[in-house]
């Protein structure tokens, strides 16, 4: 259903844009969090989690109490959850998704399948969709008249009479070539009943390096704080060295006595683990800290690390000692001037002059360009926004003979053009006008790059304006 249709039916509907990446990120965080109930867990995208609670349920007072604990914990975080416990992952999935179809019993007991219970008997009433099958397979099964798990299980397990034996053979033949479990109901059925192993991929949380100092006396002075930060940077450098990594982003958290937390974040241009460099950059970030009644805990965390192998320092030690490296230089500039002040221009596949250049982080690798556009002569510098020029005299469809820009009158002495650049119709509106570019030189030798925005009579506006976009060398 389209959103417009839904709004017509229910005008007060509240809509939120879908965010699949955010959903997966939340699911990953939850997957780590749910390991409180079992030693390992696995993702079941888009909206499921599997936890192995083998021999762990008694720690929570039994399986029913574990389930109620799960419910309570999720409700406390504002999340709706349906949980189930079963001997196999497939059975637990089926119970959690379709337990409403079962015969009414008390809620927690309904979604627990004990290991000594008759699995086929308990699950017989579930629809075949509980087998985690693809849609086309579900369609096939529905057309065959197999609606419940029980129907399929009867056929798949044993023959009672001759007609059921024939049906079993037919079903085996029908799915003989389906090797993928989600396309073969017989494999799925075996997985639910535990006859076939079903490997799962456990989620392993990655611990980011973290060092901290709990201070006996709260810090109120900058010099002491600098000392602590220096110690932390050295600890962090050792920690990173042990892991063979370098930091790209560092977070410095300072806990004040009154409970406030001050966080300073630092991004680095390249992976680095030099304590002196980190200290120097952090010192610039600590200028405006209000210590209040004192800071009692300082914690430094690397939230983004990249692998950085230990390298032998330069044999020619003088070259190392002299000057700074490029990454260190860029870090210092970025910390003082802001993250977007230091950038590199890269070309972009577009014919529009202002879109043909993009700005990237200085040490990022250059993106591969599919086709290097064979541009004609371009100006050395372009203005951020094209400036309108007042044309004092122009031939009707040609270049201006004389124009005024920033209060000065320029007489055009030499000209090359026009170079016509059409708007990008696949991206822009249909009434965007084309541009005719001219490379001109005035009588004193100043070289400019100007364009006429549109042509008269193109039906996209009135008389075309002239703009100056670039300054040539």
């Amino acid at each position: 259903m389209m959103l417009a249709d839904a709004r017509t039916l229910c005008p007060q509907i509240r809509t939120v844009p879908a965010d699949p990446a955010g959903d997966i990120a939340l699911l990953e965080k939850l997957a780590v969090w749910v390991q409180r109930w079992g030693p390992w867990s696995a993702l079941d995208p888009p909206d499921g989690l599997l936890v192995d609670i083998t021999a762990a349920a008694h720690l929570f007072g039994g399986e029913p109490r574990l389930l109620s604990d799960v419910d309570a914990a999720f409700v406390k975080r504002g999340l709706a959850v349906r949980a189930a416990i079963a001997p196999t992952a497939g059975a637990a999935w089926a119970l959690s998704h379709f337990s409403a179809h079962l015969a009414p019993r008390s809620a927690p007991v309904r979604s627990i399948l004990g290991s000594d219970e008759d699995a086929v008997g308990r699950l017989a009433d579930l629809p075949v969709a509980a087998l985690r099958l693809d849609n086309d397979v579900l369609t096939v099964l529905r057309r065959l008249g197999l609606k419940r798990l029980g129907d399929l299980a009867d056929i798949a397990t044993g023959a009672v009479d001759r007609s059921e034996a024939a049906a079993r053979d037919a079903l085996h033949r029908r799915f003989r070539n389906r090797k993928s479990p989600s396309a073969n109901p017989l494999i799925r059925l075996d997985q639910i009943l535990g006859r076939v192993p079903e490997p799962l991929l456990p989620v392993v949380p990655k611990q980011m390096p973290l060092v901290q100092r709990r201070l006996a006396e709260p810090l109120r002075h900058r010099s002491l704080l600098d000392r602590v930060v220096d110690d932390l940077a050295q600890d962090m450098a050792r920690e990173l060295e042990g892991r063979g990594e370098g930091a790209r982003r560092l977070e410095l958290g300072m806990w004040r006595v009154d409970g406030e937390v001050i966080v300073r974040r630092l991004e680095l241009a390249a992976a680095i683990r030099e304590a002196a460099h980190i200290t120097r950059l952090l010192a610039d970030k600590l200028e405006d800290i209000d210590a209040g009644f004192g800071i009692e805990t300082v914690r430094l965390r690397t939230s983004w690390a990249e692998s950085l192998n230990a390298v032998q320092s330069d044999v020619e030690h003088a070259a190392e000692r002299h000057g700074t490296s490029l990454a260190a230089c860029i870090d210092r500039l970025t910390v003082r001037l802001g993250p977007h002040a230091v950038r590199r221009p890269v070309s972009h596949a577009s014919h529009l002059p202002e879109r043909a250049q993009r700005w990237r982080m200085p040490l990022d690798p250059n993106p591969p360009l599919e086709a290097v556009a064979g541009f004609r002569a371009r100006p050395l510098k372009i203005l951020d926004k094209s400036e309108r020029i007042a044309v004092l005299y122009a031939s009707p469809d040609g270049y201006p003979q004389r124009f005024r820009w920033r209060g000065n009158v320029h007489d055009v002495a030499r000209v090359e053009g026009p170079e016509r650049i059409a708007p990008e119709w696949w991206r822009e509106k249909s009434n965007v006008r084309l541009r005719d570019y001219y490379r001109i030189e005035d009588d004193e030798g100043r070289r400019y790059w100007i364009y006429r925005h549109g042509i008269s009579g193109d039906g996209r506006g009135g008389r075309p304006d002239w703009f100056l976009q670039g300054l040539s060398v």
Binding site: T324, L333, L380
Partner: protein, 298 residues
Amino acid sequence: MPISVLPSGAKALDTFPVPSRPKGGSTGLRLSASTLSGDDITALSSAREGRWRPGLADQPLHSEIFAETRDASGAGMAMALARDALAMATQGTGQRAGQNKDPLAEQEDRRQVLWVQDRRAIQRSGRPYVHGLPPELRDRLIHVEAASPEDALFALEEGLRCRDLACVIGEIVGNPRALDFTASRRLSLTAEKHGVALWLVRLEAEADLSSARMRWRVEAAPSAASLWNAPAPGVPAWKAELFRARSHAPGKWIMSNDNGHLSAQNSNQRVRQAANTQDTGDLVRPTVGRSLAIIGRA
């Protein structure tokens, strides 16, 4: 490193660089007047007082270029001088290592170029455009946008201190208070300590006190005739005046940069040629703002 053989006479011009560059200049600095003969001293001093010309192996490391914001001649001139110096530097190291001049053998310079602009310079004269840059600098330019002249000076100094940069180009508008003699002296000392060259473009600025080793004043000049398209602008040219230099005599040139090759023409010569030949067209104004009588006297 003791010096065993002293080159003498005219050869000293090439081997003894002006002692402003730390790497090449180390031998020159150790020479005292007592180790040089009188001929060498005169040769050296004449070399230092000689006219500037493009392609000198020993460019000073801190130059200032005064230009207007109305055109890109300042940035273009800085770029041309930087390319000239970089080309000479790579050629020089190749010769020093005893390699032949095979273009395939020489190592390509992949170091980055830092271009610092303060915000007013960006507003008034625009930012660098990647398709207009010289092809060898196109993918190795790092641009710094500084909010104030103080930040721009900080960025320039940090850039000069970095050993991985080929050179630094700066653009600062006007005469901000931060850019006084002390600041320019700091820049000179840092550049000479670390051997990274700086071309500082001063837009719309008065030539006040500065410790720059060379100071240029640049204006746009009518370009040379285009090869294929007569009415089109050709190879860009500038009127450049070297009005203060530590090791060269001041002078005026018409400079042009043809595909990375910097050429300078003495403006007097050019004017004389133009004055002699009647057919000047509309490309060169015969007198460049001066009367023919003055040129005749010069």
